[in-house]
């Protein structure tokens, strides 16, 4: 049954340190309020998975020392490009990086969604990526008469999917619209925790037009209201990124000291998310 939490802080208390957490890219559903709560509580040892890439939220978590491993096809902050704390952490060797490619991450999650050990994936062959992936196997296509090589990508089963969505209802259903990567994430994960911008008046599954974009409560373990909860990243179909704020971040986060100042001001201060 889906639990409704009054506070985002309580919601994220359901994320143990060292969890493997699936996160959406900046153009999808970023639970920034929950990310700030994780930083505030001092989460450590997280393994974050960008589905298929990760942006601002990943850079924040890395900067705050919450991340041990990052598994992703890329780290990029919207239109602004390089993520300063990620770049610095890689340079200093303070985090592990598992470099992937978008369709392989999607395929790994879809394998978990289907309960199969792996999924064959086209492409990839001859890329240096596979040299460093012990969870990818080069195998032969058993349906080909010739010796056609293929990459088999191991299933990816996150402990937790943590996302922000525009709408949720009191029954625990959450609406992701066309951003269905979040549905795959929820299906594939052991637990799914969600923050949402607005409470939907009614049941999302009973509305013929809303149901197709809804993750049923069956897959949703916990929920908390977080108005404007994707700020400053923006929420698809609802509000754009706060570009000015992102620029402030990118400027401050160039250095470790600047990043600390940033989180002091915007995460630890009580008026953080206003």
């Amino acid at each position: 049954m889906t639990k409704h939490f009054e506070k985002v802080e309580t919601l994220v208390s359901n994320i143990p340190d060292s969890s493997k957490i699936a996160l959406a890219p900046d153009y999808s559903g970023c639970p920034m309020e929950a990310i700030r709560a994780l930083i505030k509580r001092g989460a450590t040892g997280l393994h974050i998975i960008g589905v298929p890439s990760v942006g601002f939220q990943g850079d924040m978590l890395i900067g705050a020392g919450c991340v041990e491993t990052i598994e992703t096809a890329a780290v990029t902050i919207g239109e602004h490009g390089l993520a300063p704390r990620f770049t610095s952490a890689i340079k200093n060797g303070t985090i592990n990086i598992i470099d992937g490619t978008c369709p392989a991450i999607h395929a790994g999650l879809q394998a978990a969604q289907k309960g199969i050990p792996f999924m064959p994936v086209r492409g990839i062959l001859g890329s240096d990526l596979s040299k460093h992936r012990h969870d990818w196997i080069e195998a032969s296509n058993p349906f080909s008469e010739n010796e056609e090589p293929l990459i088999f990508v191991k299933a990816i089963t996150p402990d937790i999917t943590l996302i922000h969505v525009p709408l949720a209802d009191s029954d625990g259903n959450v609406w992701v619209g066309v951003r269905r990567e979040m549905m795959v994430m929820a299906h594939a994960s052991k637990k799914t925790l969600v923050t949402y911008d607005k409470l939907f008046d009614g049941n999302l599954l009973s509305e013929e037009s809303m149901a197709p974009g809804t993750i049923p409560s069956l897959y949703v373990d916990g929920l908390a209201l977080a108005e404007n909860g994707a700020w400053p990243v923006g929420l698809f179909g609802n509000y754009p990124p706060d570009e000015n704020h992102l620029k402030i971040y990118l400027d401050m986060a160039k250095t470790e000291e600047g990043f600390k100042e940033y989180i002091n001001e915007y995460v630890f201060e009580p008026k953080a998310a206003e």
């Binding site: 890439s53 890329a74 780290v75 890689i90 978008c102 062959l125 890329s127 066309v178 990567e181 698809f236």
Partner: protein, 243 residues
């Protein structure tokens, strides 16, 4: 209207010329110039021309989440796509990961995104790297995010078609696995290009100058295209077109 053609306008036009006759062009993340080129090619097309742009809400008809772009390419429904690279070498290998000994790269790029997939599956992949220096165009990339060519037994309907930079256009010869200089943008010279390119390439017997956009096309770029691209790339659009 100023007839001084900005570099970005020139590049949008040059790339759009390579998209003639396409039915479906997809544009990845953080790609304002290829995005503008795709929208320009669509505006100039008399036949059905579809643009799918990652990050756009207006020019994105996908309804099956993040996996659809890749599935769609695997189904053969995408004719052209764009890739860049922190490093690109003379065999069209691209590096979107970093410089130095992986994983302890001394310079880290954002990551491979979907390159290690779309480069194999989309028939016409246009490499685009604005910076044309020996640092960007190298003899051999430090890390292969995706290779320019593959052995015959690899199922690979796609691959590199051309490389467009701020200075010139290279076409890729798949059999030779090598670039050939196609045209030099106005204001640039062969000597400069040889000097600024870290890899070897074939030279044609006569050097062609890259055709700039007509004044009508320029108007289109600065009007309709600037407007359309600003939805996805507001910062780019306001910087280049002041809109």
């Amino acid at each position: 209207m100023s007839e001084v053609i900005k570099k970005e306008e020139m590049l949008i036009f040059v790339i759009s010329e390579m998209l003639k006759g396409m039915r479906h062009v997809a544009v990845g993340a953080s790609s304002p110039i290829p995005g503008g080129a795709a929208l320009l090619a669509r505006a100039n097309s008399s036949t059905d021309f579809r643009v799918s742009m990652l990050g756009s809400e207006e020019h994105n008809t996908f309804t099956n989440g993040g996996t659809e772009l890749f599935d769609c390419a695997a189904q053969g429904r995408i004719d052209a796509f764009f890739l860049g690279g922190g490093q690109i070498d003379g065999s069209a290998n691209i590096n979107l990961v970093g410089i130095g000994d992986y994983p302890d790269t001394k310079v880290r790029f954002p990551g491979s995104f979907g390159s290690a997939y779309l480069y194999y599956l989309v028939p016409r992949v246009i490499l685009f790297r604005e910076e044309h220096t020996p640092r960007a165009l190298v003899p051999k990339v430090d890390f292969i995010s995706a290779p320019g060519t593959s052995p015959d037994n690899v199922n690979r309907p796609g691959g590199p078609y051309a490389l467009v930079t701020e200075r010139c256009v290279f076409r890729f010869d798949k059999k030779k696995a090598r670039f050939r200089l196609e045209s030099i943008h106005p204001g640039h010279s062969l000597e400069e290009i040889i000097e600024m390119t870290g890899f070897e390439f074939d030279e044609p017997s006569t050097i062609r100058e890259t055709k700039p956009p007509s004044s009508d096309t320029l108007k289109l770029i600065r009007g309709k295209i600037a407007d359309e691209i600003s939805e996805t790339y507001p910062a780019f659009s306001s910087k280049i077109f002041g809109s």
